[in-house]
């Protein structure tokens, strides 16, 4: 009997709860009939627009959805979290009160939708999502909440108003790291270079990194072979070490590059007395006797640009894509979004900096891109001056198919759309 009364009470409470929700929202929204235009925020817009035309950064609330934990101290989520926090601090924002994060959100449509609802409910003005599989949920929710800005990393969906995507041309930084690795291999007189990758051709993100690196290596050492060993996971520390070790011992590799979360591959290279090129962040500290340089991301560059654009919208989220200058932010070396960590002077190949400077200038100027039908080669003068020679050449994959005809334009877009599912010639996939 008592249980029945409890059940009754509970259902009463639920009904009251529902009524309260319904009632409360129609109070705010001024009736259900005109809620399509979201009147409450619109009123705020008018106010803030009347005052300045842009929202004060102190009034802006930022939301983020992470695939791993917000308190991570390394890895992919950490890179983004660190980028957002750095950007907000640079802009003088208070991270504790202005940043809301839902973490450990898997690439599950329903879970992402729920996380977005939570952040919108907390009053976030702009919501970042960092994992590729969030894209459909972001796409649908951007349409559902036109007064909130949505920004999705590593994806390709967008609209003309409140939803953009962002990614970096990490392959440009990879190309530069590849040049350093190639020069080292010439110095060592060993044409074998290893690469511990999370995945291979199934992700354009990993394939473009491998291809960019391999093309950099072969621009200075056309005889080099890049042996790729795939982990099948973005992070797997014991195997990251073991695979690097195997590449060194079984394939006689003299330089190891990597696309995985930790610095284990670099540590393996250091332990074996060979060299390495790190990724994500400067890994020199992790393996000072091995790391020549690292291809690095500066996510704060994007996050700062995006938060400033959000503020400049003045509360009108539909202006975001216009403020960003387009729906796809795809920046690279020129914007400082990616780059290379300072060369490790003690072990870096002689004159490497001159090569890096020459190619950086070429990429930053927009004159040349890695995945185009133009190959680079170099002439080094007696005094160390490096001259870049551009030669039209087919871009060929490792099965002999021509991807870009000699002199043709870059297929850089395939990195974002996910259609780069090939390895460039010189890459050899080693069974994992």
């Amino acid at each position: 009997m008592k249980k029945r009364i409890l059940a009754l009470l509970l259902s009463c409470a639920m009904v009251v709860g529902l009524a309260a929700c319904g009632g409360g929202s129609s109070d705010n929204g001024g009736g259900a009939a005109d809620n399509g235009s979201a009147p409450a925020p619109a009123a705020e817009d008018a106010e803030s627009a009347g005052e300045a035309g842009s929202t004060d950064l102190a009034d802006l609330t930022v939301g983020a959805i992470y695939i791993n934990g917000k308190n991570d101290t390394a890895g992919y989520t950490y890179q983004h979290s660190n980028g957002i926090i750095t950007a907000m601090r640079n802009l003088g924002m208070d991270v504790d009160s202005q940043l809301y994060v839902v973490d450990y959100v898997e690439e599950d449509y329903d879970a992402v939708c729920q996380a977005i609802d939570t952040l919108v409910g907390e009053g976030c003005d702009i919501i970042f999502g960092i994992s590729f599989g969030y894209l459909d949920a972001f796409n649908d929710k951007a349409a559902e909440y036109p007064d909130v800005i949505f920004s999705h990393g590593t994806g390709y969906l967008c609209n003309d108003t409140n939803f953009n995507n962002y990614f970096g041309r990490a392959y440009q930084a990879r190309y530069l790291a590849g040049i350093v690795a190639g020069l080292k291999s010439l110095e060592e007189g060993n044409n074998n270079i290893g690469y511990v990758a999370a995945f291979g051709t199934e992700y354009a993100e990993t394939a473009s990194g491998i291809n960019g690196f391999a093309m950099g290596v072969r621009a200075v050492n056309p005889d080099a072979t890049i042996y790729v060993k795939e982990l099948g996971a973005w992070g797997d520390e014991p195997n990251e070490y073991a695979f690097a070790e195997e590449l060194i011992n079984s394939y006689n590799c003299c330089v190891i590059s990597q696309h995985c979360d930790s610095a284990q591959a670099m540590i393996a290279a250091a332990d074996a007395g060979v060299y390495g090129c790190g990724y994500n962040s400067d890994m020199t500290e992790d393996a000072p006797t091995a790391v020549l340089t690292s291809a690095v991301w500066h996510w704060d560059v994007y996050y700062q640009t995006a938060i400033e654009a959000a503020a400049a919208c003045g509360g009108d989220a539909s202006q975001f894509v216009t403020q960003m200058g387009g729906p796809a932010y795809y920046a690279g070396l020129a914007e400082g979004f990616v780059g290379y960590a300072p060369l490790n002077e003690a072990i870096a190949p002689a004159n490497a900096q001159a090569y890096l400077d020459a190619v950086s200038d070429l990429i930053i100027s927009g004159e040349w891109d890695v995945f185009s039908g133009t190959a680079l080669s170099f002439e080094e003068a007696e005094d160390g001056t490096v001259t870049v020679v551009q030669t039209p050449a087919d871009l060929v994959d490792n099965e002999g198919n021509v991807i870009v005809e000699a002199g043709g334009p870059s297929v850089e877009d395939s990195v974002i759309t996910g259609t780069m599912d090939w390895f460039v010639e010189g890459v050899q996939d080693v069974a994992g």
Binding site: C21, G22, S25, G29, N71, D110, G123, G133, T417
Partner: protein, 409 residues
């Protein structure tokens, strides 16, 4: 051992409530100490958790919709599990049955959604999910009846088989794989929301998903089935003593297979509700209800009304924790899970002390003799002492397995 455990004859409701309150307060105090240590105000955290962030939320109706999405699968699964548990059939295969049900429902949606009218598709999704999940569950019952196999092990292991089946579909590209989004270069599940999606009743800006109403009706029917029908009586008798049931002329094997089918089928229905609401599959589609449901059913003493209340509370805990974690920079989802685990564990301990009490061992009195002296009815019904032990084990195993799964992910 200076202490031993004795079964209580009875525990007055006031005492039970006191125990639960003490347990929850202890868990919250430990949590508060940790929260304070990492610089979070415990009061505002708990307030946020208990209200699921709905206070001051401009889309509070949405938060409540999301809460119901957590609640519906949990309550249905828990009720379903209670069918089997009442019979002492330890079905901890809720996860697997849920996954198989989701796959069946999604298959129907993709296959027939484009050609059939929506209500028919939804109905067929339910039928498909109920049949597939029911069969996935009841063949374990058939093995138990025929060969006396251990259902705890079998249902547990079938969870992982189902999990890897759905992961296989999630990761394997191919023309035959109708579950995937054909427009994506990377393998991702496709959406069938345009063909089949459970309708809702708008109340202001809030939309009451029709599954919530179905769920309430199903709970009432389940209650009547278990309490007022011949089948329900048979389940109770088989649960108390299979030998008595046989002696009374009941076909115990048939009752077990039938009831386990119903249990698994109801979990399949929960899956059809969940999949039809989401409009898409996911490898995390279950939301761990197969594990949590074991705890819910047990805390509610297998009473349908109790399950309804416990599910509602645990869903608040579950959903509220995620929401609260988003507000505080120092608190991540792992911390929220840990707090949730602490509260659940404390409640289970309180539950234990409602059933048993610790007694100082006087001399060399054998524990078994003490149990018999204190609980004479135990002798009459042979299975009675096991009543508490086995389910507690099952609940523990389920909780551990649940943790393992979430750790893997």
């Amino acid at each position: 051992m200076p202490f031993h455990v004795i079964k209580r004859d009875s525990c007055p409701l006031s005492k039970k409530i006191l125990y639960y309150v003490i347990a929850i307060v202890i868990a919250l105090l430990i949590g508060a100490a940790i929260l304070a240590a990492i610089g979070v105000n415990p009061l505002s955290y708990y307030f946020n958790m208990a209200t699921m962030g709905m206070v001051g939320n401009r889309i509070a109706y949405k938060a409540f919709e999301n809460y119901l999405k957590v609640f519906v699968p949990l309550v249905l699964t828990s009720v379903a599990l209670s069918f089997a548990f009442k019979m002492r059939f330890w079905n901890i295969g809720g996860e697997g049955q849920f996954i198989m049900g989701s796959l069946a429902a999604a298959f129907v949606a993709f296959k027939f959604g484009p050609v059939l009218p929506q209500p028919l598709t939804l109905l067929l999704m339910c039928v498909g999910a109920v049949v597939v999940a029911g069969v996935y569950g009841c063949f374990v019952a058939a093995l138990k009846v025929k060969f006396g196999t251990n259902e705890t092990l079998l249902t547990l292991m079938l969870n992982y088989i189902a999990l890897y089946i759905i992961i296989y579909f999630a990761n394997t590209a191919g023309d035959w794989n109708i579950f995937l989004n054909p427009n994506s270069a990377r393998t991702t599940f496709g959406s069938f929301a345009e063909y089949a999606s459970w309708p809702g009743i708008p109340i202001g800006r809030f939309t009451l998903n029709i599954c919530v109403i179905f769920t309430i009706i199903i709970c009432i029917i389940a209650h009547i089935y278990l309490k007022r029908t011949k089948h329900g009586y048979e389940i109770a008798v088989v649960g108390d003593s299979p030998n008595s049931a046989r002696y009374a002329g009941m076909n115990v094997g048939k009752i077990i297979v039938r009831t386990v089918f119903l249990s698994a089928a109801l979990i399949g229905l929960a899956a059809a509700f969940k999949v039809g609401t989401a409009g898409i599959l996911s490898t995390a589609i279950t939301g761990n209800v197969g594990w949590t449901g074991v705890i819910v059913a047990w805390l509610a003493k297998l009473s349908t009304g109790g399950i309804f209340i416990v599910s509602a509370l645990i869903s608040i805990l579950n959903y509220g924790s995620t929401v609260a974690a988003s507000t505080f920079g120092a608190v991540d989802a792992n911390f929220a899970n840990m707090l949730q685990g602490m509260i659940l564990f404390a409640v289970l301990v309180a539950d234990f002390f409602c059933r048993f009490r610790l007694v100082r061992t006087e001399k060399a009195v054998p524990a078994a003799a003490a149990v018999k002296a204190d609980a004479p009815e135990a002798a009459e019904i042979p299975a009675a002492p096991a009543e508490a032990e086995i389910p507690a084990d099952a609940a523990e195993a389920a909780a551990q397995a649940g943790e393992e799964v979430s750790n893997e992910q």
